[in-house]
């Protein structure tokens, strides 16, 4: 594990890295040298590999860290346990990469809140912090809040672009400074002790200067005609060093100061001038608007002092005279507004009056100018509140025939429609619009509310109203109702008002008032009430050919609800198959759940070397199938086979895997022809705005617009500018097609049992399969010759080996080799944990092998960059109690790994709502006891128990055998493995043999 860290000092931003503590590593002679190399720091090569940025320079740097007994303490328990003792801050030498290239700047600004950059490369707290600070600086640059300047460093002068930080930004930078981890400023030759605020401001100045200078600075020019040319060149050169004589440069410094003085004065003033526009009194026939002058506090923008109080000398804050601030402000503002200028003819101006036209000008022009010049502007709420801002909008009025029982309706049907025009909730007639057009007034009062209407909008509205009723497809009515304005409509569409069957359909769609259906007769399961609802919702959208994303929490039965839909389809006479795509690791699960809950649905697994190789072969294989099940990998690889098929539907399980729309898999999924589409996922998709487009484009092509338009209208405003209105619009647009219930929802929780137990069927990787076969063959060779105790020992030994193979090849080989992508179980565990951690849940993971625990822990920590607790036989009682306490605390680690022997009894771990049995004890009593760690007094939520089994292997056989005698299992303190040793050779062979479809492709 490598955690990237970042430090800033003396105009240099450096990225360095911490690696795992290795207690067995010898310390290099710390006593002799003043600074010793950091024993666990990443090397320059490791840093460059992790950063994947080109053209970086590295250097050695000194970092001051809390240290105990010559061990610098790591930033996170991910890197290992700290030694105990009293720490002292000591210097360490580390390799560091200098933040200077554009690549690195982009890298740092894009850090965001992701925990890892790649498996094994985590984001340290300081890297995340400086990433945020860089975004702050880039926002200043985007708004052009900087000025050319001249600064002295030591005896030398440098041309610099320095940020101008005033008003709200000053408050923001102070808040950001308070959030700085001290480690961010721990770099330097001497023990750093500079204040966080100072260091942050220096960093922002550094970043702004670097950004303005750009990636391609000019070469410094030795020759220049004047000190001003020297300055201009230096502002564009790489270092900014001034070359002129000391006298000239210091004279220039005076001039620069003088030039910048007005801004420096404004920044230093505790108040700024502010303009407030007051709307006319309702009774005022002449409609006089008032602009009042106030002083607004710089640190506390809610502090307003009316100009009259300033003139009367009433307001004196901290013994500062406020008159000069008010006067200087008015003097500047007079250039931007003739009204302000005119008001200054009196000795003590406090504001001015204006007409409605004047107010319109102020709202649309002057206010903006004043704001840009740094003044405060307070406008009526109806103007500034984006969400409530009223404008001329159109609504489609649609007439459609009433819903007749026979059905046969479709979204392609054409219906009559006409536009209506409204402002706010007030509909306007053609006559009223024509009257407005005549008035030429741009601000009008409608029912006591002021509204701005542009002449262009009025003209466009009149045009629309004059049009004859036309025909429109029902699908377009739906789009209108979801807030999509058709491209050729000049005014914003607010929605659709419909009569007849479309009205019914839209209500069912947007208010979720669709009818709840009887579960299909052929379904061998009873649906919980919320599952009935989910299944009915799927069927409703399917009825209209619309795509549905079912995003219920893990364990709520997405599979079952989907199977219910497919069963219903078949019972309604559907003959075409459905294409179901899922990760290889859950293929086994799907096939089992189908056999269990919907045994009438014939399932074709398109997988393995014997799968259909031609279009014709697939077509023939699929003739009688209700479901064709395949993996994402094969979807892309065999796209040519799937594409010509007429699918009844396409279903993507774990649909978050196609979030990148440019992958072959995502393209293949979109290329399928089908009457309906379903995406299943357990991750909170609505929180990942960027991923929504790909899923939306698969489900309902075109609904979310092009990728570029989606970026512009939704992603960028929501992700980067926290635009609540865009969020609202996106919700309206996607809400009808997205259903996500949480286990904690009151409507769900009362339907859930206290404990849900499921078996998760995993697949072997090819490597696992060949190792498995090798172990079985070896046993086979030796079996014939031995008897009795020796035979029993040999069988048990082989069983243990097979279990290890099923767990992970690295456990079997015991060779500390690479971890990722070599074990079906581990892949599945990682996927499930990712989903539940994302939803804020916690989990216990049991294994009986300490070595496997180590592998799982390392893998999970490197993947999620989150600490994973591990309780094993070697854990002391004290450590154990500390772990339990940390796990139970809300901010504590989300995954607790326990070796079954150590963690089976006595612990209370009710913070967990998921329990995983990674490998099996084959003793129900022991497993139940372990499960009960989470399922104890104090547990208020549903606990889900996931027992992992590799399909087609002995694990599955033993599971089946135990299931058969489950009724007596509670009493039997027997052992599944012992049972196997009693079997004869042939039976044993049959149990151990690897069944087909057990292996991933």
């Amino acid at each position: 594990m490598l955690l990237l860290q970042c430090g800033f000092a003396d105009g240099h931003c450096l990225i360095w890295g911490e690696r795992n503590l290795r207690p067995d590593d010898p310390h290099s002679g710390a006593a002799t040298k003043r600074t010793s190399p950091h024993p666990f720091a990443a090397t320059a090569n490791e840093l460059n590999a992790a950063l994947t940025a080109k053209g970086t320079t590295s250097q050695s740097a000194m970092i001051w860290l809390p240290t105990i007994a010559d061990t610098p303490l790591p930033s996170s328990p991910l890197l290992g346990e700290s030694p105990t003792g009293t720490p002292k801050v000591k210097p360490w030498q580390v390799a560091a990469v200098v933040l200077e290239t554009d690549d690195l700047l982009g890298f740092l600004a894009g850090i965001g809140d992701r925990p890892t950059l790649a498996p094994g490369v985590g984001v340290g707290v300081t890297l995340r912090y400086w990433g945020e600070a860089l975004r702050f600086a880039s926002a200043l640059v985007a708004r052009e809040q900087f000025l050319p300047d001249l600064v002295q460093r030591g005896k030398k002068w440098f041309a610099r672009w320095t940020p101008t930080i005033a008003g709200a930004d000053a408050t923001r930078i102070d808040r950001l400074a308070r959030a700085m981890p001290p480690a961010c400023r721990a770099i330097g030759e001497k023990l750093p002790d500079r204040a966080a605020n100072e260091v942050l401001r220096e960093f922002v100045a550094f970043a702004v200067d670097r950004l303005v200078r750009g990636p391609l600075p000019e070469k410094p020019r030795k020759q220049f005609d004047s000190i001003h040319d020297d300055w201009l060149h230096a502002l564009k050169s790489a270092t900014g060093a001034m070359l002129g004589s000391d006298t000239d440069v210091s004279q220039l410094a005076t001039q620069v100061r003088e030039w910048r003085a007005p801004i420096a004065r404004a920044e230093a003033a505790p108040f700024r001038l502010c303009f407030r526009l007051d709307e006319p009194d309702e009774k005022d026939r002449r409609q006089t608007w008032e602009v009042r002058y106030l002083l607004q506090g710089r640190d506390d923008p809610s502090l307003h002092i009316p100009a009259n109080d300033v003139w009367a000398g009433k307001a004196s804050v901290a013994r500062t005279d406020l008159k000069p601030i008010l006067l200087a402000g008015l003097g500047q503002a007079a250039n931007l507004s003739p009204d302000v200028d005119a008001s200054l003819k009196t000795a003590t101006p406090a504001g001015f009056s204006t007409t409605t036209d004047g107010a319109h000008r102020i709202l649309n022009e002057t206010a903006w100018l004043l704001e840009q010049a740094g003044f405060g502007v307070l406008l009526p709420a109806w103007w500034t509140g984006h969400a409530t801002k009223q404008q001329l909008e159109v609504t489609a009025k649609v007439k459609s025939p009433p819903m007749s029982g026979g059905g046969g309706l479709s979204l392609e049907d054409l219906v009559q429609f006409q536009w209506s025009v409204a402002i706010g909730d007030q509909e306007l007639t053609l006559a009223e619009l024509q009257e407005l057009a005549k008035q030429k007034a741009s601000l009008v009062r409608l029912r006591g509310k002021w509204v701005q209407v542009s002449a262009d909008d009025i003209r466009a509205a009149i045009e629309l109203l004059k049009k004859k009723p036309a025909k429109i497809a029902a699908r377009d009515v739906m789009k209108l109702a979801l807030g999509i304005t058709p491209e050729d409509t000049p005014l914003n569409a607010r929605g659709a008002i419909a009569s007849g069957w479309i009205e019914g359909f839209l209500k069912e769609l947007t208010n979720a008032t669709f009818a709840e259906l009887e579960p299909p007769a052929g379904l061998h399961a009873s649906l919980r009430p919320y599952q009935v609802r989910g299944y009915s919702w799927l069927a409703f959208l399917r009825r209209w050919g619309l795509g549905a994303c079912l995003a219920d929490d893990m364990g709520l039965g997405k599979t079952l609800q989907t199977l219910a839909l497919l069963q219903r389809e078949r019972e309604n006479g559907e003959k075409k198959p459905v294409l179901l795509v899922c990760p290889m690791s859950v293929v086994g699960n799907w096939s089992r759940e189908t056999a269990r809950f919907a045994p009438n649905l014939s399932l074709l697994i398109h997988h393995g070397p014997n799968r259909a190789k031609t279009k014709a072969a697939l077509k023939k294989d699929a003739t009688n199938a209700a479901i064709v099940l395949t993996s994402y990998g094969l979807l892309a690889r065999d796209q040519k086979l799937f594409e010509p098929m007429k699918w009844s539907g396409v279903i993507l399980d774990e649909a978050q895997l196609v979030k990148n729309p440019n992958t072959k898999t995502a393209q293949a999924a979109r290329a399928m022809t089908a009457e309906f589409r379903v995406a299943l996922t357990g991750t909170p998709v609505e929180n990942h705005v960027g991923d929504l487009w790909a899923i939306g484009q698969f489900l309902n092509p075109g609904l979310l617009g092009t990728a570029t338009a989606f970026r512009r209208e939704f992603f960028t405003p929501i992700q980067h500018h926290q635009d609540a209105r865009a969020m609202e619009r996106l919700k309206r647009l996607t809400g009808p097609f997205l259903l996500r219930r949480l286990k904690t929802d009151p409507t769900v929780i009362r339907d859930l049992p206290a404990k849900i137990e499921t078996t998760e069927y995993c697949t072997l990787t090819r490597e696992q399969a060949s190792l498995y076969a090798a172990v079985v063959n070896e046993l086979d060779k030796e079996l014939g010759d031995v008897q009795g105790i020796k035979r029993k020992g040999m069988v048990l030994g082989a069983l243990s080996k097979l279990k290890q193979v099923c767990n992970h090849p690295a456990q079997f080989l015991g060779d500390r080799s690479a971890i990722p992508n070599r074990s079906g179980k581990l892949t599945r565990l990682t996927q499930m944990l990712e989903e539940l951690l994302d939803a804020g849940d916690k989990a216990l993971v049991f294994t009986q092998f300490t070595e496997m625990g180590d592998i799982i822990r390392r893998h999970l920590q490197e993947t999620f960059a989150r600490e994973v607790l591990f309780l094993h036989g070697g854990t002391s009682r004290k450590q154990r109690d500390a772990m339990v306490e940390r796990f139970q605390s809300p901010d504590g680690p989300g995954v607790f790994l326990l070796s079954l022997k150590a963690g089976g009894t006595g612990l209370n771990l009710t913070a967990a709502t998921h329990v995983f049995h990674f490998d099996r004890w084959w003793n129900p009593a022991v497993e139940t006891q372990a499960t009960d760690r989470a399922f104890r007094i104090g547990q208020t939520r549903t606990v889900q128990v996931h027992a992992f089994v590799c399909s087609g292997t002995l694990e599955e056989k033993i599971d089946e055998m135990l299931a058969r005698k489950r009724s007596v299992a509670a009493k039997v303190v027997g052992n599944g493995e012992a049972m196997l040793t009693e079997l004869g050779d042939d039976q044993l062979r049959e149990v151990l043999a690897l069944r087909p479809n057990a292996v991933e492709d």
Binding site: R175, A179, R194, N197, R260, G331, G690
Partner: protein
């Protein structure tokens, strides 16, 4: 005219990095007060010397200008190796005069407002007149000019060049005009209806920041408090580029080859786009999770 032969047309020695007029062609002075100042010079009727003075001012022949109370001193590079020394002297107003003026200025907020904002109020001459005074020299006799060049004409082209550049400086800082009449910004603002002077406007000294030693405790050392929300405010490109420097106006006695604004405006617009692009940088995950699944 006989002197033409006596003093043949001379070419001045080229100067590098002299003070260059910001106006490239046409009239000097943008503000009305700068224009009024230049009108006084042009009323001297010195013929072609005005034009040469303008071209001297634009070429950067003036190498140094200093505006003090009642007096402008300057150096102008002519055709001889040593630059000529130029002086322009104006009578200073007395303490009494200023008091009368301030009383008059206090009747309308616009005077104090504009002066504090760094501008000369339009009606200030009326206020001077009402106080029985004059901001600009009343007659030519009030201005004394001198130059060390051999030209018998006073004002000569060297004086004219300095005069033009001073006019341009007035554009930038109208208080120079007050300085020339013997007072300064602080004195005027201090007496205007602004109470105790401009203490609040003057930049406060930087508060000295107390050092913050690194904590010895590891959890405090690595502590990450949640970052504040709305850290960056609304981020969009400004509709007008380089608004900041534009608001600040001309640079004092600019000597650069290009105008300052011309030189930096493109830097501003390019930087803003770069800033926005960086701000909107994606959280790109380096590895595509889909490819790992099959």
């Amino acid at each position: 005219m006989w002197f033409r032969d006596f003093y043949p047309k001379s070419t001045p020695k080229a100067v590098k990095g002299g003070i260059k007029a910001q106006s490239k062609t046409g009239a000097f002075g943008k503000s009305w007060w700068a224009k009024r100042w230049i009108e006084v010079l042009e009323s001297f009727n010195i013929g072609a010397r005005l034009g040469r003075g303008r071209s001297y001012a634009r070429k950067g022949q003036v190498t140094d200008i200093n505006i003090g109370p009642g007096k402008v001193t300057a150096k102008v590079q002519g055709s001889r190796p040593t630059p000529y020394a130029v002086t322009i002297t104006l009578p200073k107003l007395t303490e009494k005069d200023w008091e009368k003026l301030v009383a008059e200025l206090n009747t309308q907020a616009v005077f104090a407002a504009k002066l504090l904002a760094g501008e000369m109020p339009q009606d200030i001459e009326t206020a001077f007149t009402k106080a029985g005074l004059s901001l600009f020299p009343k007659s030519l006799e009030e201005i004394e000019t001198g130059c060390s060049c051999p030209d018998w004409s006073n004002p000569c082209k060297h004086i004219a060049a300095v005069y033009y550049l001073v006019g341009e400086e007035f554009d930038r800082d109208p208080f120079l005009l007050f300085r020339l009449r013997g007072t300064d910004r602080e004195m005027i603002c201090g007496h205007l209806n602004t109470g105790s002077g401009n203490a609040a406007v003057a930049a406060e000294p930087e508060p000295s920041v107390a050092p913050e030693p690194l904590p010895e405790d590891a959890s405090a050392f690595w502590a990450s408090t949640p970052l504040p929300a709305d850290l960056c405010g609304e981020v969009r490109l400004p509709p007008v580029s380089a608004a900041g420097p534009k608001r600040l106006g001309g640079f004092p006695f600019w000597r650069g080859t290009d105008r300052l604004l011309d030189a930096i405006t493109p830097i501003y617009s390019r930087a803003a786009e770069r800033g926005l692009a960086l701000f909107e940088t994606e959280n790109v995950t380096p590895h595509d999770t889909t490819s790992a699944q099959s």
